[in-house]
Structure formats: C-alpha cells, structure tokens
Amino acid sequence: MTTQPVSLSRDLAEKQVMRAELSDVDMAVWRSASGVVSAWENRCPHRGMRLSHGFVRGESLACAYHGWHYNCEGACHYIPAHPELEPPKTIKANLYNVTEASGIIWVNAVGTVSPVTLPSNTQAVRSVSVHCSLEIAAQAFKDYCSLSPITANTRTEVVSESPYVLALKAPLPANSPTPSMQDKSNPVSVFIALQRVNQTTTVAHITASEHASETDCIALSRWANKVRTHAEVSVGSTE
C-alpha cells in the first residue's frame, strides 16, 4: 500500500470528523480546533464503535457511544463514566500516518506518508466518488479530457510515478465558456488525486490553479460528474 488522498483539506473543517476508506481500511479522519489533522483506525478500543461517528471537542476526539476522549496522540485521557479516573496508558487509538499538502489530506495506513508533490498554489474544486476501480476511473479522466471544458487537444500528463495522481494541463478550447481557460499565456492546470476506497469505488479529489475562476471551477465540477457517468457506464457494459 502507498500514500493516498482521503479528502480535500477544505472538506474537513476544524472540529469535524469524517469516515474514509482506503483500500478497505476503515478510518476516522478528524481535525482538532487548532487545526491538527489525524487519521486513526475507525474503532474505539472500548466497545468497537466507529470513531468517525464521534465528535471533536477542542484537541480531542470523543467516541459517540460512551464519550471516551482521545487526544491528538491517540491516548484516551477521559472516561466520562469514571470522571476521576486517570485512564491507563494502554487505552490508545491505532494511528496512521497523515499529512496535508497542496490542499489535500494524504494517508498511508502501513508506512511513512509521502504525498505526490503538486503545486501549492491551487484551490479545491470537489471530490467525486465513482463506482469503479481506480484504474478505470483514471482511464476515464484521461479519455474524457475531450469533454467540455477540457478539450481534445489537451495534453494529459501523469506528473509522478504514483498511479494516484493525474495532472491535466493547458486546456485551450477556442470557444470555451470559461474565460480563464481561454487565456493561452496562463492556462489552468487541473490536478486529480485518486483514492482507492475498495475494488469497486474510487474517489477523485480535484483541485485547480489558483487563478481558475468560479465559473471555471463550476464547469470542472460538472465535467467531473460527466466523467463519472462515462466511467460507470463503461463498467456496467462489461459486467
């Protein structure tokens, strides 16, 4: 297993927790009030409750079931049923390696986290889930570059050895509805970071150059929805 994206940074605000699955590993990803992001095995050691159903208070994640509080190191520091008790050090959530880079949260469930290097001057567009394998999803995003707003003469470029990121550059449609994509001197770049949820579900986390306009981003969001439809149709037709 390798480093994969689990969310756009924008979609995990302070004091929020979400569930993410990465190659069938179920995890709780949360951001503390001060902004620290953590990714843990999605299971409270007490009674097995998914921690992604919990709630964030300050610098702690609390379990929804009995309110056990865990700090950013994963150590349980408060058990509401026994308010005076100092919890034993052995009560600890199982932590994964996580980092934030280029507006994306990256996790490696088994080793060191080493995100694909992308430009930092990007903005979040959206995350879109596709019911197909990562390979089919990646192929669909490449194949359907010809769909508006990214046209046939776009060069699709894989910017790293990782199979998890596609970078699409320089869309130059003559009649593009989106103003900044017509600007030949300063083209919009689009980055698609792919997350393998499991064999049949993939999530594409999409970012774009900072100077892409609101209209550009909305066009990209709609384009991603079309690509999803194509990818899922191609899966459906081979089944």
Binding site: S7, D11, K15, S60, G67, H77, R126, S127, C217, S221
Partner: protein, 220 residues
Amino acid sequence: MSFTLHDYVLSGNCYKVRLLAQILGVAYTVKPVDFHPGKAHKTPEFLALNPHGTLPVLESDNTLLTDSSAMLVWIAQQFDTTHTWWPTNDAHRLALTVQWLGFSAKLTESIGQLRLHTMLNRPADAATLNTLSTENLRELENHLCEQSIRGLAFLTGDQPTVADIACFAYSALSPDAGIEHTLYPAIRGWLHRIRCLEGFLTMPGIYEAHETRNEHTAAS
C-alpha cells in the same frame, strides 16, 4: 395561531415540521399516531381526518394540511418575522426554494421508503430504491459542491430556507437506510451547518452536535 401536529416520532416528514417549529420557537401540540406497529394512520378515524392516510397532519383553527412542505411554508409565513425561511421578498430565492422543496419529495420517495424497508421491514424493491437514493444524493451533492464554490452555505444562498429543512431530514437519515455520508463531502458539510443552527432539534438517527459543548478539561 398555534397548531396541532399529528406526529410519528420516527417519521422524517414529521421531523421537518418539528425542526422548523423548534428553530422558530413556535409552541404546538403533539398528537402521537401509532404508525408502527399499530398502522393507526390507516384506521377509519384517521382517514376521516386525512383521506391519504399519511403523516404528518397539521391542524389549526382554519387550516388542515397533509403535506410537510406546505406545513413548512405555512409555519414560516406565520411565524418567521425575518422572512428569510420563506423569502417572499426575493423572487429568485423564493423560486429556488420552491424548486428544492420539490426535490425534497424525491428524497422522501427514495431514501424515506428505503429507510422504512431497512428499519421497519416494510415491503419494497430495495435495489431500485437504493439506485434512486444514490441518484438523488448525487444531484444534491453536485448542487452543494457548486454552492460551496460560490461561497454559499445553503441550498438557495447564504441563509437557510424551508427547502434546507425539507431536504435535510432524509439526507441526514440516509444511514438508517444503509447509505453512509462518506462519499458526499458537500452534503456532510451542509448537514453539519444545519445541525449547528440555533434551536436545532434532534431525532433518532440525528445526534445532537456534542462538539458545540466545551472541551472537557481535567480541572472542570
């Protein structure tokens, strides 16, 4: 003018009415109807009140309503002095509100039906409902993605309307039907914003926003 709500505690459509009333601080009388297991909404007595045999029913001195969206409009128009929940002074937002009220019915027909099947064993074509539910959640997700790109927090703009309440219920309750929010980040953010509204009300399957309380500290 207050009202009586013929109510079922697990109904998402009943919950919409309770939620808006709570947010607007409107007092009303609840009359529980034994929907499950008693099927009291199909008794002659209830059918005399509402021939459709559906819940909720809102009754006041001069009104009897059997559609939850109509109830939301009625409550907002009567009790919301700010005119933001039913934005009658903004043609564009008012029209969008009506549009998303219409969409909320699709959520009820898909997720709502699937939930009754999954939770209370009501007969249904689960596979078809599951496909429909996913389609509807994707439509909502697409829209909320665009709203977030525009910097708008709610369905029709920067403030919630009755349409947000109407769409909130069954979107929030989809895990009861076996559909998690994991793959819908924009919906997740929007649900969270609604849960944090002043006067928010919970129901089974929709928890209190415990995170809004202060952090536990050893000293407290």
